[in-house]
């Protein structure tokens, strides 16, 4: 009976370790996914507010907000030079 108790305890311990490893892996994966999502969501801010850092690879950065029509002649021109 003593041997059965030991084997049972070892089996319970191994199962517990497997659960801990699964949870640890899932938490790590969730962290990586979350980091990627945050980077994608706020990537344009990196460029527009701290753009003196080296340019990041990836696609062409879309504007955070599209331009809107404005009245008058504007404060400055955008044209070729």
């Amino acid at each position: 009976m003593g041997g059965d108790d030991v084997r049972s305890a070892v089996a319970r311990r191994d199962e517990g370790m497997r659960r801990v490893r699964r949870l640890t892996w899932r938490a790590g994966a969730a962290g990586v996914v979350g980091s990627v999502l945050i980077a994608a969501a706020f990537g344009h801010h990196t460029s527009s507010t701290a753009s003196h850092h080296p340019a990041q690879p990836g696609g062409i950065l879309v504007p955070g907000h599209p331009p809107t029509a404005a009245p008058g002649s504007g404060q400055v021109n955008s044209g070729a030079s």
Binding site: P57, I60, P67, A70, S73, S78, A80, S81
Partner: protein, 358 residues
């Protein structure tokens, strides 16, 4: 919705006009100092016409690897990124092609060379008020004939080997760098980001019409007149829009033009031919998450030609494209024209192809 910046400075840099706007009057002096220092550093790094610039020394290195400054490495990395993002349409190895077209000195000297004190008129630079750069066009196709002399595909951006550890750069296969397509826009981004971060105010930096904004925008956003020529008057043909972040850039085939072998040419080189891009669009304006990305897209659009609106829409980039006859095409959510600001008889609004392009 009146957007007014508290303070403004206008000055010359890179042979063009710079405008600095800040939302805090007291920050203007410090902002100008920061901009001046940054722009001087960029000029020393990559001015093609300065014998002491890093770019000139790299081009004259005969293909040997050279150590470069962090700033120059950043400017080259930006140019290579632009090439990669546009499948090589915006290529930094166009220096030899430009030189073969006669653009081998500062543009003011080039322009003076053919304008002359009494020679303006037919020989003068084309402005936004005049016809687009169509010197020797085929009237049926609108295509320009190639200019005699050296022509052919450029060496290609993959010949530029940038080693960020060090950093160092090597130009292989005889490649010659010209960072004109991206450096000015990158400089605008660097200045705007630096000023906003150091001074905590809203800022707009325009370098020859390449515009970067950072920090808190004024009420109603920064109001920008999109037109052919950045130095044109406030009522010049175009459209006024407001932006609150990122950048806005305009590329055009009508302003930086000169005569080569009797033909009028412009500075936007198609890497596939080594010749100026065909004038499908005279002007393309794009907004993006940064000025350099906007400029990358607007330059690529000029070279892409007819497929540009669909490509810009696919990229999610609001854009305004103007054909040589003045017809306006918009893409990617660019706002409709305010008809009250249009000059009489100008262009036909052709609508946003974004829906058709998916």
């Amino acid at each position: 919705m009146t957007a007014t910046a508290a303070a403004r400075a206008t000055f010359s840099v890179f042979g063009t006009m710079a405008v600095l706007l800040v939302t805090d009057q007291s920050a203007l002096g410090a902002a100008r100092l920061l901009a001046d220092a940054e722009l001087a550093a960029v000029d020393l790094a990559c001015n093609r016409f300065r014998p002491d610039s890093e770019l000139t020394q790299l081009n004259e290195a005969g293909g040997a690897a050279r150590p470069v400054s962090l700033l120059f490495a950043d400017l080259i990395a930006t140019a290579l990124r632009a090439a990669e993002l546009t499948d090589g349409l915006v290529d930094p190895t166009c220096a030899a092609a430009l030189a073969s077209l006669g653009y081998d000195r500062d543009f003011s000297e080039l322009a003076a060379g053919y304008a002359g004190p009494a020679g303006r008129g037919d020989e003068g630079p084309v402005t936004s008020e005049q016809s687009p750069a169509t010197g020797e066009q085929n009237p049926a196709t609108g295509e320009q004939s190639p200019v005699d002399g050296e022509a052919g595909p450029v060496t290609g951006w993959r010949s530029v080997e940038l080693n960020l550890a060090g950093p160092s750069v090597q130009l292989r296969h005889g490649a010659q760098l010209d960072l004109g397509a991206t450096a000015k826009a990158r400089a605008a981004d660097r200045c705007a980001g630096l000023i906003a971060e150091e001074l905590g105010c809203g800022v707009l930096v325009s370098l020859g019409g390449d515009i970067s904004v950072a920090g808190p925008a004024p009420t109603g956003g920064w109001q920008v007149r999109v037109t052919d020529d950045h130095a044109a008057g406030p009522e010049s043909p175009g459209q006024t829009v407001a932006i609150t972040g990122g950048g806005l850039a305009t590329s055009s085939t009508t302003v930086r033009t000169w005569l080569a072998d009797g033909r009028r040419v412009h500075h936007i080189i198609d890497p596939a031919t080594g010749q100026p891009a065909q004038p499908c669009w005279r002007t393309v304006s794009v907004t993006a998450g940064s000025c350099v990305d906007a400029n990358t897209a607007s330059t690529a659009a000029i070279i892409r030609g007819e497929s540009a609106p669909a490509w810009l829409a696919d990229c999610g980039l609001p854009a305004r494209l103007v054909r040589p006859d003045g017809t306006v095409v918009t893409a990617g959510g660019w706002p409709p024209e305010d008809q009250t600001t249009d000059p009489p008889g100008r262009g036909n609004e052709a609508g946003d192809p974004a829906g058709a392009a998916g």
